[in-house]
Symmetry: C2
Subunit: 398 residues, 2 copies
């Protein structure tokens, strides 16, 4: 089993952000797996989405259940094989897992307060610039590949536009060239739930010793609904009652347990506030878990980075023109049941790349899991990625 | 223009609810349009969905913008023609527009408190029983038709099962035989937003002089996203900035206004809390408006009635068996872009009715508006309904 060790680097030079603001100095938390070859041709950067981190693969020594968030994809013998590639995971600025973010001390605060809501708005492009500075420090000029799913895929696209000469291949999974109005709408409802939580205190809740957990729970519940497909929700939860079996068994106890098979007619509780259906229990659990570890300001920042990403914007909405700067090879993957970042959005990217005579591979995977599929180990999906990295390994002599 | 007059009837006998609870006594608010013929064969009952009421059609005298919620469908010369039919709209129990609900005095309260969260959970079937008692009082035995969209369509289905001998035709628009896990999930998030609002006070906020507006706003924003299609949201709002034109014009003012056409490159505000996109502004407005007039306990009750509706439940999930009791004619209508109550759900009902040799008409309308389409006046949709009611008028000599 791959054992991961988190690292961190400090950057003294201010980072100029797209908004015009600066981050005066910052830390970037990262992990690496595998070995950089002598020619430095085998580096792969993995970019994370909303609630993940630099801990992509492996486990932490002595910590049970500490697998990285893409451990099924990255590791020894995995599709992104760390026996051939030197893989880097980096936590993005504004996140809450080690890199500088809202929970860190604001150097402009006279009395040493944390940033909170004063952490500047960061964009996908800002993250990519910071990632490039990290690579400089690691002595890596060219990436064999940059790869990410969802928001991570947006970072991969941005890499090919901001640093075309530093990327050989980009792997963009379950992503989109920008958010739709509906995507933005879901983000906005989640943000409003957080911001209007009385414990948010305008984003400076830390100094009040509270956390806007109500808002975070609602935000996460909304997120979860959009990560899953309607079909997989029906398959997993359907209209099952939370404790239907227990209640049916109870009811049948006096009749020799004859009602054990009567699950389908177990009685409702008739309550508007108690959990009645399994899906409710699942969502509440996910919301509670998330509110215990995720930072509310980070949630706002990262969903805003999603909203803002739109490379075609400076080209009058013309994505083909926007992607003209890209010169690397591309693999795009989408999932047919993903209604958050639907295959049609990936096809827009594919078309724009083809308009520019780029070398593009595209796989549309018929997996049932919705957007979440990008994190799961569908064999067709993993097979496509594995083959793509095998070809890349040959190309860069990894 | 049709002028509507709200009416109300008091019911002294307790109403036994599906949950086992009772409503000791109650008022039902209703409106009627047109004239009941001598043979009493031309009555049509319209059932409302989540946030509507008995005010289906017409306007209130002297009140601007007081059109009923289905005024494009019901009225003189409209598809449901009040010159031929006697149309009844009724506000359901637990609602907040006149019929007995959480804001009314609880007769079991020693000190005259309102029900609040103690209002009993009501189901679609409970509503139908109350509607039948109202018809008894109006001297109407048989309905020419019962009609509703969404949750209203569920009431129409329930009528055909509970009172098959009292219904000639049922018109079920944009409805479903039950909610999917995803539907329940959206309802649950909305309910959690309301219940966890500190101003909810366990549902007894009235005695604290507050309203859980934060929660109601979030609930309504979530609802609105699910009422619209992704396409119509993109067409209506897309990624437009809230004040892009103004800002572009501002920017161009020093250059003789040359930037007036530069809307697409207007700068972002780079804010996580301010409105940036038009869709955000729209959702916040809808949320604010709703929180000003809708009762929080009613929201919980009505979404729960949606969750609970499932006529196939007592038949091991077999909808064909569940609908075997229905003997009237049916018209079902669905909309291809409705992802809340998708056409596939209407087709399940159609199939189950056909299994029972029912007389079923079905129209699937290619309207772009999502679930909201059932309230809009698409000419194909209205044409189908008009033709259906013309045939019915001939049948009942209306």
């Amino acid at each position: 089993m791959l054992v991961a060790t988190p690292q961190s680097l400090h950057f003294d030079a201010p980072l100029a952000l797209q908004s015009g603001a600066f981050i005066r100095q910052y830390e970037l938390a990262f992990e690496t797996y595998g070995t950089l070859n002598a020619a430095k041709t085998n580096a792969v950067l993995i970019c994370h989405a909303l609630n993940a981190s630099h801990h992509v693969a492996g486990v932490y020594a002595g910590q049970a259940r500490s697998e990285g968030w893409w451990d099924n994809m990255v590791g020894p013998g995995k599709p992104v094989d760390t026996e051939r590639f030197f893989v880097i995971g980096v936590n993005n600025l504004g996140s809450c897992f080690g890199s500088t973010g809202p929970m860190h001390t604001n150097p402009d605060s006279a009395d040493g307060q944390v940033y909170g809501a004063d952490f500047p708005v960061v964009t996908v492009e800002d993250w990519v610039h910071a990632q490039a500075l990290l690579l400089d420090r690691l002595g890596i000029h060219t990436l064999a590949a940059v790869m990410g799913g969802s928001l991570g895929g947006m970072q991969a696209i941005a890499w090919t536009l901001l640093y075309p000469e530093r990327v050989r291949r980009a792997v963009v999974v379950a992503s989109a060239p920008n958010l739709t109005a509906e995507n933005i709408a879901f983000n906005e409802v989640a943000r409003r739930a957080i911001v209007t939580d009385p414990d948010f205190h305008g984003g400076h809740f830390y100094r009040h010793g509270v956390v806007p957990k109500r808002g975070l729970r609602i935000a996460r519940m909304i997120g979860h609904i959009t990560y899953l497909s309607d079909d997989v929700m029906n398959a997993k939860f359907g209209r099952q009652l939370r404790d239907a079996v227990v209640r049916a068994a109870d009811a049948g106890a006096g009749q020799g347990g004859a009602a054990a098979g009567a699950e389908s007619v177990a009685s409702y509780r008739y309550s508007t506030q108690d959990v009645e259906f399994q899906i409710e229990s699942y969502l509440r659990y996910q919301g509670d878990k998330f509110a215990d570890y995720f930072d509310a300001n980070t949630y706002l920042l990262i969903t805003r980075a999603l909203d803002y990403f739109d490379p075609a914007r400076s080209f009058g909405g013309n994505l083909s023109q926007a992607l003209a700067r890209a010169s690397c090879k591309f693999l795009l993957v989408s999932f047919v049941t993903d209604w958050r970042f639907a295959p049609a959005r990936s096809r827009e990217i594919v078309k724009a790349l083809l308009d520019n005579q780029c070398d593009v591979s595209y796989a549309e995977i018929d997996a049932p899991h919705g957007h979440d599929a990008f994190l799961l180990d569908d064999p067709r999906y993993h097979g496509v990625v594995r083959a793509y990295f095998e070809a890349l390994a040959a190309e860069v002599q990894a």
